[in-house]
Amino acid sequence: MNSIFLLLNILPILFLYQFGGDLHVSFSLTKDFTLSLIQTPLGTFFAYLSLISFLLVTVSQKSKKLSCNYYALQLLLSFAMLIIVLAGDFITFFIGWEIMTWSSYFIISKSNNIDIKSLQKYILFSLASAFSLIAAIVISYSFANSFDFATISASFKSMPFDIQLTLIILFSLSFFTKAGVIGLHYWVVDTYSKAPDLFSSILSAVMSKMGIYGLFLIYGNIVGYQELKIMFGTILNGTDFGYTLAWIGVATSIIATFKAITQDEVKRLLAYSSIAQLGYIIAVIGFGTTYGVAGALYHTLIHTIIKLLLFINVAAIIAQTGKNRFSELGGLIYRTPVSFVMLLIGIIGLAGMPPLGGFASKFMMYNAAINTKFALILIGMLFSGAASFLYCYKLVYGIYLGHPTSKGLETQKEVPLSYLIPQIILALLLVLTGAFPGAFVKVINPILTQFSLKALPYDGVGIMDSAVGNFNGLFIMSAFVAFFVLILLLISRIKSKAKNNINRFDISYCGEVPSKDTSLHYGFGFGTELHRIKFVNAILKRSTATFYDALALQTKRSSELLSRMYYGNIHNTMIIILLFFSALFFIGVNS
């Protein structure tokens, strides 16, 4: 089963590779109503991103006994995303968007630990996203008389300002919901944590990126970054619009980072971290400068790699141990060493540390902020980066380091190879992007041209160059490796004999001897002390849940009020409905 669908996943990649470049198909349903697929550099980038992600996840699904339906739904999802990124008009786009919503909904509902509430949350927010999308599409159709991207883009300039603003807000809301901007992220955490373990990687790595693609489509293609500048005016060296969006992104990233630290469930932590990382992308996506767009694209790539890696890793551990909380895991490092190394590479990337690819993308985004002189935005991003070290460490400590906290962990075996292969590929990608940060410039430059922005300078694969600073990834990587090996050799030559201490209870513990019952796995609970810091506590104790729960309650009450109309007698109800509509009719006729 797995291998068949593996093949089916490879096919579109081959197809895109073979016939891609200048794909342009359209077929008309009625006279002025055509569906079209147009391949743009931006779409191609996202298409490859999602297709390869699906392929890797399918590889790791080998050891899971999944049904044919499941694979078919997943394939449908992949197909829907392909439609979204290749769509040339809004109807095609919307069809893709809907298929994506529904197919993912069914996959999520197949999970073992899903509850009805999370499912409802997911579908309600997806519907809200779709409604605001369709509203925006209809409004733009009424002005442009077409669903075609190019036509709408052309007529956008002639629309009145309030319509332009409404359109931008409606589109943004729709895509913000998908990406999980803070305030609209209510569904994200529950869905990511309760979806099937491997599917979470798709949700976080690929599906959230469709929101990012949508934002690029609107800001870059439909409205156009130049138009945005004219519409909203400028502040410092950037646009007002970019500045507002940047604050939304930075707030998202800071709040989600602190929330992530306090989570006990592994996948909830990753979900919050995913929100935080997308916050970075949203922060720079509106800048409308070369570095802004390049940074957003670069971070899209890096975040996809990292989140696939981390979610697959965690899924493997959960499948192997059956535990999904930090307080139940721990001490797996010498049981599953390969997994440990993979997770380690993942979190070094996530924290944005220099030798790996995570740094290159962050550097690009920081450059964008310097370029526009958005100092506070830059500080916000750096600050959330510093706080993210905490959850990165919690992730690796809670699972692999410290002491095992439940039975069976001490005899754990390494996870199956099917989980490890995609992880190794992704980790290699992370290392390669770290050593050759300049290589990706060639992918970004056509997209920049598409948005009619200046291309990035290219100084060789090892170097990431920009007007406000550059660094040589290859040099840093090789210097790091060289010094590491050198110091390792020196230290291992020193005759002070390192005795391998196999027993984990032999620690200095104030002269006492800890036993199996002593709780030694300290770090899984960290984040609790953050509550004592006033500023952080102010973030942690607030939650959008209160707002949405109140909203749900009010909706429930008003619908109860409505349902009182049905007091058993169908005739009276019908009469009331009839009266209501006739009243409406009269009002309509009179005005």
Binding site: S508, G511, V513
Partner: protein, 211 residues
């Protein structure tokens, strides 16, 4: 089976190699230099047993300033070279002391303060204190007095430094060589309630005692 992991084994093998290549002289000089450095830098874990614990703060702070001789306090036994036991030891304390001592890394030394660790002192007929500490862990320097003044504690440090500098055989080497003797004694007073020792399996000392 190789017994324990005596630093001296390593040294002697190295010595053999060096002697073969006619470099024994260099080795001796190196050894001397290293011993000098060891004597100039002593990290202390001050284990406050008995009354003498009160003499430690003045020894290490402004009044007597042991740091000027390179003697500094550290928090964990892993980093320490010297453990100071400052008085009588109850059996309960002894267990922790042994554990702390075994967690220290070689070379390691023991200094005791007062007369109690020598022969029991005024606790000579107590039911729950040990009489002669040297039976349980090897003591390098006894600083006598009930209790000793910081000056005499410092004199003890100087004596220890002299010995380290001269490369004299220290307590830890005796401990490694006569492990069975010490462990038997420890077993006798601690009875069945013995902490596991992760360095040596001293229930099976006959088989070499490797854990």
């Amino acid at each position: 089976m190789e017994s324990g992991f005596h630093g001296s084994d390593l040294d002697s093998s190295l010595k053999c190699k060096l002697e073969e290549s006619g470099m024994a002289n260099t080795h001796a000089i190196m050894e001397k230099a290293v011993n000098w450095f060891r004597s100039r830098s002593i990290f202390v874990v001050a284990y406050g047993t008995g009354c003498g614990a009160i003499e430690m703060p003045p020894t290490f702070t402004s009044r007597y300033d042991a740091e000027r001789m390179g003697v500094v306090g550290v928090a964990t036994p892993r980093q320490a070279d010297l453990i100071i036991l400052s008085g009588y030891l109850a059996y309960k304390t002894l267990r922790r002391v042994i554990r702390t001592y075994e967690q220290m890394q070689r070379p390691k030394y023991v200094i005791t303060l007062g007369s109690c660790p020598i022969n029991g002192g005024m606790y000579w007929d107590s039911y729950n204190t040990i009489k002669k500490l040297d039976d349980y862990i090897p003591v390098d320097v006894y600083v006598t007095g009930c209790m000793p003044r910081p000056e005499s504690v410092i004199e003890g440090f100087v004596l220890l430094q002299e010995r380290i500098k001269n490369g004299e055989k220290a307590g830890w080497q005796k401990y490694d060589e006569n492990l069975k003797f010490y462990k038997d004694n420890q077993k006798r007073v601690l009875g069945g309630h013995i902490d596991p020792s992760y360095e040596t399996d001293w229930y099976n000392l006959e088989n070499g005692g490797v854990a």
